[in-house]
Amino acid sequence: MAELLEVNGISVTFDGFKAINNLAFSIGYAELRAIIGPNGAGKTTFMDIVTGKTRPDEGSVLWGEKSISLLSKSESQIANLGIGRKFQKPTVFEDQSVRDNLMMALKAKRTPWAVLFHRGSDDETVRIEELATEIGLKDALDRRAGDLSHGQKQWLEIGMLLAQDPQLLLVDEPAAGMTVDERNKTTEILKRAAKTRAVVVVEHDMEFIRNLDCKVTCLHEGSVLAEGSLDFVTSNKDVIDVYLGR
């Protein structure tokens, strides 16, 4: 398959309401893509479908060189195929240390047996410290994740995402609750990650999207409204209408 992920003709209905409507989407092996769209456009639901949380009523979701269908796979199987996800509301394991959060995410065998006898190697320690440095939490490694600030939790979750070493990163609103400096740093991290893998970023903040400097897909009422450069998309008449609520 020429693309890493190919989504075709998917639709989802919640209690009679069509959240996703005949949506098509694809992304290449090393590509950065931004998804924009008003509230309720179906951005998060789209990620739910790709990661196996929600099953579409129809359509296909194909993955990788062998075009594997993701629709019959469980969440954990999909994660192990190489799809990682950061949630809109930061979800880290609040009761555990930053180090343990990263350790759990780190790429390694995932069976109960292997995990029970897991002994942290020096390589792992080094990798965790590298990741912590990258997300600016080096000094917070032994702090409880629940005690971090909102922005730090966002970063920890991005760190966990990188620790999984996935081929596709789905990042839902990473910049929410971050200062300007933090946003810039997040932009850098995501751009760097996209050099070797596919990264999909959902954001409302146009400044942030502009800095990502990548192809943009605009969703509305569950389907693609426009796709192209940010300037192209934002000058599209339909997009302007949607955003200004006309």
């Binding site: 954990s76 009761d95 350790m103 109960p112 995990v115 002994r119 966990m160």
Partner: protein, 392 residues
Amino acid sequence: MNGLLTKFLLKNPSVLVFLGALALFTAFVSVGSEAFGWGFISTSFVKTLGKTLCFCLIAIAMDLVWGYCGILSLGHFAFFGLGGYMLGMWLMYARTEIIVQTAMSNEVIPPTDQEVIDAIGTQIFGVVGGSDFPMIWAFAHLFWVQLALVVLVPGILALVFGWLAFRSRVTGVYLSILTQAMTLALSLYLFQNDSGLRGNNGLSGLQNLPGLDDVSQDIVSMWFFWASAFALGLSYLLVKLITESKLGNIVRGIRDDEARVRFLGYNVEGYKLFVFVLTAIIAGIAGALYYPQAGIINPAEIAPIASIYLAVWVAIGGRGRIYGAVIGAAFVSLLSTWFTGGQAPDIPLGIYTIKWVDWWLVLLGLSFVIVTLYFPKGIGGLFDRLVRKGDA
């Protein structure tokens, strides 16, 4: 392996403290016992203490499955009971066999094997109007098989039940209700006379070890006390090894946000099943140690209320901290024995006298509510606070 264990103990000094305390307590009871010491601890109290250790053991299992993994099982006493029944079957069969053989050895014509078996059957099942051995007694004469069944029966039941429940993603209150339903069904089944396990008569005489009639109960009680203490110590170590490993991190992650764990690529159902089955097995072993000290097992012991008490012990002791479960089980079950045994002095209030035999449950329920509302970390939480103050 030895080096690893040493490293683990150094990293978790609390395990050493617990094992040390348990060893001291065991030594103290031995020295105080009628069999091996000065005799200031009566044999019946040794049995009470030994049974309490078994409660502590099942409480550890409950803390692992509930406090760490977030599965509020209201069925672990069913596994406890099943473990007791499995060993009880052998105890009862083997002892009855000896009695029957002794009685028949005086007859002029030596009895055939079939006659012996029939006589044993009549002895055991006479109370429920039968004499034939039901299928489930097929291995009752084989000690090692019944011993294996102590872990296999609870383990396999937990495996099948857990697989069905977890696979359909039943969680929270619904899962608790389901475990409760399983327990109720099992106890109702066992209450029937044709269940093959003597209905509501249960199995009795379990305190008498076959072929060891000469050994007095003073000594037997100490054997079981030691065995219970050993099982408790070993399980404590095992459970701590699990909770302090990466598996412990994952299991706590499942408790706090199981969907998130799934998206990290872990097969949550497999992990839950592992914990559920392991704790069912520990419960089974606890039951097999408990009932020979109690002497009798009957279906009432499996009734859902027992499993609810178990949850209360662990909540009062403090969830998610293993030693809390031990404290809760020991403290509440001993207190309960004291109150319900008629030893607690009644309180006359003029027009009304508070009889603890009746009011103990009210007190327990109240404590549970208070702990849940104001001390969610239980007695263990108070402990933690003291230790932290000591550090500062």
